[in-house]
């Protein structure tokens, strides 16, 4: 930390304090480092657009279904009406909903991409996320390309009630067809990946990669610890814990993600090998 500077000299729109090591990080440099602390490698959350830029070949991303927005099927209102929450989230994030989908190339491999954004209503999955991800999987099937889904979510969107729950089944139906067709599906788990998202598509990748220390869990930790009336084990529901217990393939630092994903896409690419197997 630069000598002699007081906290008030770090205005929050220019500096961010690392919650792990306490270092003051200059936002522009943090962004250039893909929102990873240059001192201790603490992984901050990354927006969907920035995530896409990180992972895909330059200028290779074409967005699809970008115009879908949420309806209000339940006429839901808690402390605010649902449509108002949607509007406010749209204004705050600049996105229409919690997932961005499209086609891209990763190390020249054509891939269908779906990236969730926690900033939009906690990445919650409602009908729009369900529809967009299902269309992405259907496009992958039609084009015989692999699918990559980047998860970042607090779970299903309560304001759409049981319709949100149904999106889990809807997406899995499309993923099942992709699986039957022998096409790869890579699932990238980022902080946080929880609830109905983890209990559906996020957990069913052929390859499941998690970012370091990402929160990956089905139940909220408070619910879990209240259920058993005890404190939880250290590192509970963090990526490394989930790795040890056998539910992710690898924990990969953000800087290595692109190369690692490309490795598997290349390895699983159909080739002359497949002719041999079919004879």
């Amino acid at each position: 930390m630069p000598f002699g500077r007081q906290r008030k000299e770090f205005p929050s729109h220019l500096w961010t304090q690392c919650p792990t090591c306490g270092e003051m990080l200059f936002n522009k440099q943090l962004a250039r480092n893909h929102n990873v602390c240059s001192k201790c490698d603490h992984h901050f959350r990354l927006g969907a657009r920035e995530r896409i830029e990180l992972l895909v070949d330059k200028d290779s991303f074409t967005e699809h279904d970008g115009d879908l927005t949420s309806g209000d099927p339940l006429g839901f209102s808690d402390q605010k009406p649902y449509p108002q929450r949607i509007q406010q989230s749209q204004a705050k994030s600049g996105e229409k909903d919690a997932a961005i989908c499209g086609s891209a190339r990763i190390d020249a491999n054509a891939v269908e991409l779906a990236v969730m954004d926690f900033e939009f209503m906690g990445g919650s999955m409602g009908s729009v996320v369900g529809e967009k991800l299902t269309r992405a999987a259907e496009r992958a099937l039609a084009g015989r390309t692999p699918l990559l889904i980047v998860s970042s979510s607090g779970g299903a969107r309560m304001q759409e009630g049981t319709l949100s729950l149904m999106q889990m089944a809807k997406i899995l139906g499309a993923l099942h067809r992709l699986d039957e067709a022998g096409l790869p599906y890579v699932s990238l788990l980022t902080d946080p990946t929880t609830g109905g998202v983890l209990a559906s598509f996020a957990s069913l990748g052929d390859i499941i990669i998690a970012e370091p220390n990402a929160l990956i869990g089905f139940s909220g930790a408070r619910v879990t610890s209240e259920t058993i009336g005890e404190k939880l084990p250290k590192g509970f529901q963090r990526a490394e814990f989930v790795l040890e217990h056998g539910f992710v393939d690898q924990v990969v630092p953000r800087a290595q993600l692109r190369e690692r994903i490309a490795y598997f896409l290349n390895a699983f690419r159909p080739s002359a090998r497949d002719l041999r197997w079919s004879l």
């Binding site: 339940l74 839901f76 009630g161 729950l165 149904m166 209990a199 957990s203």
Partner: protein
Amino acid sequence: MDVVDRFLGKKTAAEGNGHLPGDAGLITDSAALTTQRTPWQSVQLAREPKRPHSLEVIDGLFERFQELHGDRGYRDDPAVVGGVAELDGVGPVVVVAQQRGATTEENIARSFGMPYPEGYRKAIRLYRMAEKFHLPLVTLVDTPGAYPGPEAEERGQAEAIAKSIATMCGLQTPIVVIIIGEGGSGGALALAVGDVVLALQNAIYSVISPEGAAAILWRSAGEAEKAANALKLAASDLLKLGIVDGLIPEPAGGAHTDPQATITAIKSALIVQLDRLGRVPIADLLSARYERYRNIGVVVEPLPGAAPVKKEPFWRRIMRPS
């Protein structure tokens, strides 16, 4: 309007009422419900301790039920029961259900009907058995949700649920799902993907419990009734939303006032549905199942040329009082 028409794509689940004929007393139009209840009343009735639970229903629906145990990996979870049974006029079936307890003691033994991963893995094993031997699959849904404890997390609760849902999506045998009590979120959905999804008249099915929604969205678990109303979790709402295909009538005071009559009503509906589904070629069945779920959800797709979303300027965002 025949169920087979729906399989041939002529009508979708999301179009709501009336796409199953109102035979065997099945209610396909929520306006036809004689007793109108508030969602909160449905919640109370669905959770009523004397309501018939899965094993009692299985005993009444089927003959010669042979319960099968274990997930072949870790243990036998008493919160999920299942096995092979015989249904009058249909033949052998595989049945899988979540099981609550009738007494406190039993509830503790069965973790209150909240399955662990091994419960879902037992379910998956039984689904595969149905598929292998070309037996229809019948599931009964009645659970507060999947068990949320750390042992369940450690043993892959999320993966087990996901796998269970996915297996049902592609299962090559007819599936009829009956929600007999509380359909608690993903823990329920893992047993609830089907060709036909029915619900008892006072059943509920929700993405989150009313108490959970109240605590998160209204910041007070005491607002559970308000949350229940907002969530549209009662069977009649589910029918309107196309999540459930038909309602099975209950006696006027609720299933617990006459379990026998309730089970008889379930049996009639079940026999009719299995009979129809049994005549649909498997490929058509799977297409129709895909379409059933494909069409659930409400999105707005603006016409081309609609105004783009404008991101709030940075200065306004930092000046806005939080």
